[in-house]
Symmetry: C2
Subunit: 228 residues, 2 copies
């Protein structure tokens, strides 16, 4: 499904040059639940952005479903993202002047889903993350953890083939974090959604089947998640 | 130092009325290191904003150093914040077009510190959170955990009397989180800085001496932090 090979991402030039990724190799198959861990600044979000077709490598290859993503046009990339991907951003990236339910409906608008069906699916996604009763609130009227859950609901509302979640429990208390992990496991097992989740909490990584650890822009280790 | 009594914070009217705080009582003395925990939406950030003089209760009393904060003018509140408080926001609130070092210098600009001394103090604060070499980067050129650390550096650069940190390790890996907790303990013990820290991670709360748990806008429990 996902095949990164020798992927590099470089910013800046000369003395201030930064290798966000310095030769990353990563293969992910359909139906996996992968946890990505590693120190701050080690390249996890950069890797997620490339996998999610939001950014391009400066060198190396990224094949998504067998297609070399670097050869696609911007329009083709947008179509690919809308069709296959759900993304929970580390910084949420919600629309500030838009209500929670409208934020969640946005991927369905792109898919030309009818208004009634859109509302039904968006409310169901918000209920799945415990936000009933908050759908009319804008992000500024929500707590940090509530904003994070709106971002999660938006990522799952289209039932994507692959869900990319960058630190999805960073602002959630233990009970909510566990509830979210159980929801992700259910989506993975009953709907076959492939999940790639960046987390720094070992208790959350424990719900995955495979753990990939980044260090200095490369994959440092990659293997089955140890039972805790 | 901090005395909240019967504090309420209400948003909205009628059917959509929300009690973010519903009668919160909290006393914090000089030199304490308090962890604030509780479910998402239970009022922790609202409480921190009131303690930090960024927001006013809709009813109840908040006395800071014996002064009823509700009686102060906006200018007096701004002076109070700049003189006594350091704040790490849950959403960081960094200036987007400004470099990391300039973001960290901002509280020193307000205090009329000379440019050379400002730069020295800001670089020292950035080094204390492991960000040497990143001072010229703007927030967009930094990882999530690096942005969080810039926010922390900005909050400690003035050596504030009281440091309010809202989920300061939400985006940090385990090693960085532990390093930050050790830094906070050192600031608390060697410089007497009072620390109030919202966290959802028990391993981080363990560094505090007292734990306050919120539920539904009120303090549900308040006592010594249990040893782990
Ligand atoms: N402007 C607003 N209008 C309406 N409701 C609001 C507003 N701001 C906050 N709230 C509500 O107040 C409640 C408390 O919010 P607060 O941000 O204090 O929670 P929190 O404990 O910090 O949560 P988290 O752990 O998710 O950060 C939430 O239910 C939130 O939806
Ligand atoms: N636009 C940019 N210009 C320069 N450097 C950048 C830019 N964007 C990212 N970087 C650098 O690339 C490195 C990797 O960033 P990335 O966001 O992938 O890290 P991360 O593993 O997600 O970290 P965190 O756990 O803190 O979120 C970081 O050192 C960061 O400073
Ligand atoms: Mg990141
Ligand atoms: Mg909060």
């Amino acid at each position: 499904l996902v095949a990164l090979s020798g992927v590099e991402k470089v910013y800046g030039k000369g003395e201030s040059q930064v290798y966000a990724l310095a030769g990353a190799d990563l293969r992910i198959d359909n139906g996996e639940f992968v946890a990505i861990m590693g120190p701050s600044g080690s390249g996890k979000s950069t890797c997620m952005n490339i996998v999610g077709c939001l950014d391009q490598p400066t060198s190396g290859s990224y094949r998504f479903r067998g297609v070399e993503v670097g050869t696609l046009s911007r329009d083709e990339l947008a179509l690919l993202r809308r069709h296959y991907l759900g993304f929970v951003f580390q910084g949420f990236n919600l629309l500030a002047r838009t209500s929670a339910v409208e934020n969640v409906e946005l991927p369905l608008v792109y898919r030309r889903v009818a208004a009634g069906e859109r509302r039904r699916l968006a409310l169901a996604a918000l209920a799945a993350v415990g936000l009933e009763g908050r759908e009319k609130h804008t992000p500024a009227e929500l707590s940090g953890g509530q904003q994070q859950r709106v971002a999660i609901a938006r990522a799952i509302v289209t039932n994507p083939s692959i869900l990319l979640a960058d630190e999805p429990t960073g602002n959630l208390d233990s009970a909510r974090s566990v509830a979210l992990m159980e929801l992700l496991v259910a989506l993975n097992r009953t709907r076959g959604i492939t999940i790639v989740m960046v987390t720094h909490e070992p208790d959350m990584a424990a719900y995955s089947t495979r753990t990939v650890v980044f260090r200095d822009g490369k994959v440092a280790s990659d293997g089955p998640t140890s039972r805790r």
